[in-house]
């Protein structure tokens, strides 16, 4: 399987010297490669969560290739930045980013969800370098990220912690326990990004268990809360790297579930539907 991955692994260091527009263009190229990889992995596995993978791709790409201080040669370096994908069902996007970033051998990607593959349908840190937490049950990533942010302070190593949650996932109460404690502690080394695609497995979030006004909720819990276009690499980069003081940062990233593939975008049935061979070809064509 050709992944069309560049031989030269893009890194945040490499991107930091580019102009904002060149950086965004480069991130856009990488994001397309991640999306193509996601489509191929799900085609190969005949399973997966394609809608959420495609909605979170630009957030993951901006973090892994523009922001996170990581070293694939030392994936457990004590002072590394931490990234936790709380919506662990979007593992295909995470694995694709980790492969492009040099943590996973790209040759493993076609084994996604196959018997005995290390690439489980939800990520496992004990099997895959670069994974920080075994997520899957919803509402677990943010509390772990709060612990990581406290550890960063206590240790004096001052790494940054980023966590991506789904939006439907915020219906789990454990998130708000964690939000309250992060706000109380003023953990300004912590950033949560909500992949706000407004769809959950069965229906629209607002028709199921309303989340809006979502930024107000985060603000009420003591966070700096902002909204952004979750597919705008330049805007995401600016928010991720903006200096913070005194409060954790909640970014409600407005996204399209299925972003980049016209017949998947914003359609609830594509939460975990698997495209046909014809649809795979169409999707890859759109993502060229």
């Amino acid at each position: 399987m050709s992944l069309e991955f560049s031989a030269e692994v893009p890194t945040p260091e490499g991107l930091s010297n580019l102009s904002p527009s060149d950086r965004a263009a480069r991130l856009s190229d990488i994001a397309r490669a991640v999306r193509r990889s996601v489509v191929r992995m799900i085609d190969s596995a005949r399973a997966g969560h394609i809608g959420g993978d495609l909605s979170v791709t630009d957030i993951l790409t901006t973090l892994y290739f523009g922001v996170l201080k990581l070293d694939p040669a030392e994936p457990l370096a004590p002072g590394r930045d931490r990234f936790i994908l709380s919506k662990g069902h979007c593992a295909a996007a995470l694995y694709s980013a980790l492969a492009l970033r040099g943590f996973i051998d790209p040759a493993l990607l076609p084994t996604f969800m196959k018997p005995l593959s290390v690439l489980n349908g939800h990520p496992n840190r004990r099997k895959v370098a670069g994974v920080e937490a075994n997520t899957g049950p919803l509402g677990h990533g943010l509390p772990i990220a709060v612990g990581s942010a406290i550890a960063s302070r206590l240790s004096g190593r001052n790494w940054q912690t980023f966590v991506v949650t789904g939006d439907g996932e915020l219906q789990e109460g454990s998130n708000w326990e964690a939000a309250m404690s992060a706000g109380h502690r003023g953990l300004d080394n912590l950033c949560v990004i909500v992949d706000r695609n407004r769809l959950q497995q069965g229906a629209r979030t607002e028709d199921t268990n309303r989340l809006d006004p979502l930024t107000d909720k985060w603000a009420a819990f003591g966070w700096e809360a902002v909204e952004v276009d979750g597919h705008d690499h330049a805007a995401l980069y600016e928010l991720f790297t903006r200096p913070r003081s005194g409060k954790p940062l909640a970014i409600v990233a407005n996204t399209l579930k299925g972003k980049g593939v016209s017949f998947i975008e914003d359609r609830v049935e594509w939460h975990h539907k698997v495209p046909s061979a014809e649809q795979v070809a169409l999707a890859l064509e759109e993502l060229r």
């Binding site: 004590p78 004990r126 937490a133 772990i144 550890a151 206590l154 326990e177 404690s181």
Partner: protein, 317 residues
């Protein structure tokens, strides 16, 4: 002249040994932090908080977040001791214990404080009689139930070195020491044979060990030789000691301050049926308790000398 009356043995709250050992270890090991849920007092963490104010992470009344935060602290290089009343740690945060700690393999010490029926009159919502059953179903999580202060202290030391997820059941019910004469009070994965015997074996854990020893004494007066085995490590179980008990004594009574569906008795039975089936009696808490203090409830459910003797006599028929 009256015969001298033996003074009752001194009894101890194991939380004190727990806290003293934790503070001692934390002085030398900066990785050790405590995480709690507004339970500084009930977990006896006041001294720890005074000595290491920055290393006491009190998340408030939020057990799911508490366990997740501990996972994140472990990810960040710390060794968290999560101190929380056992019913809420193991019940409210069970999925976090499974997914965040055990499945991740994070070196976190989950300390189920005041377990069993330690909260007596507060009732079944505050009792933790299900914890051993729930946690034994979680792989990659070791379960340790110290019986006295010496075992508690040794278990805390072990848990820091262990490097993997563990659960310590730390009692508040006052107990006498049962470690006298033991070369080592606690060795992970090893049972302590506290009394030799050939007619049956009483396999017991936690605060009920002293009562099992009393029962063995009473049985001896009736000419029955009862072995007493203290199981401080519920998982992984010392299977060799259980098999030896079945082969050499031919009958087993298990005693625990917990439901018997899935706890110590079930663990022992699983080994016995595989290797050397013998008759057994499983003593534990049969249901939600009525109102009463801990001592009353233990007696009410026959978790005392007479209840154990009765079960032993039934077994020996």
């Amino acid at each position: 002249m009256n015969a001298p009356v033996a003074a009752p043995p001194a009894t101890f709250d194991c939380r004190q040994a727990f806290a003293e050992t934790l503070i001692e270890l934390a002085k030398a090991d900066e990785r050790i932090v405590a995480v709690c849920n507004d339970s500084v007092g009930s977990s006896n963490l006041g001294g720890f908080q005074k000595a290491f104010p920055d290393r006491l992470v009190n998340v408030g009344i939020a057990e799911q977040n508490m366990v997740g935060v501990a996972a994140g602290l472990s990810n960040g290089g710390f060794v968290p001791f999560v101190c929380c009343a056992s019913p809420f740690l193991t019940g409210r945060a069970l999925e976090q214990v499974k997914a965040d700690i055990a499945y991740n393999g994070y070196h976190v010490v989950l300390c189920g404080m005041s377990p069993g029926m330690a909260y007596g009159e507060l009732g079944p919502t505050h009792h933790s009689i299900e914890d051993l059953s729930w946690l034994r179903a979680i792989t990659d999580l070791s379960i340790v139930v110290p019986a006295d202060p010496a075992q508690t202290s040794a278990a805390v030391r072990w848990s820091v070195e262990y490097g993997k997820p563990s659960f310590l059941r730390v009692g508040r019910t006052k107990v006498p020491s049962v470690s006298e004469g033991q070369a080592e009070p606690f060795v992970f994965g090893k049972a302590n044979r506290l009394r030799e015997g050939s007619d049956l074996t009483i396999v017991v854990t936690g605060i009920l060990v002293a009562r099992a020893l009393e029962a063995a004494e009473a049985l001896a007066a009736q000419g029955i030789s009862a072995r007493v085995v203290n199981i401080a490590t519920i998982a992984p179980l010392d299977e060799a000691e259980i098999i030896a008990a079945a082969r050499e004594t031919g009958a087993i009574v298990t005693v625990e301050e917990a439901v018997v569906s899935g706890g110590l008795g079930a663990a022992v039975a699983e080994v016995v049926v595989r290797h050397h089936p013998v008759a057994m009696r499983l003593l534990g808490v049969p249901g939600f308790a009525p109102t009463g203090d801990t001592g009353f409830l233990l007696d009410h459910f026959g978790l005392n000398r007479d209840g154990i003797v009765r079960a032993a006599l039934e077994l020996r028929g």
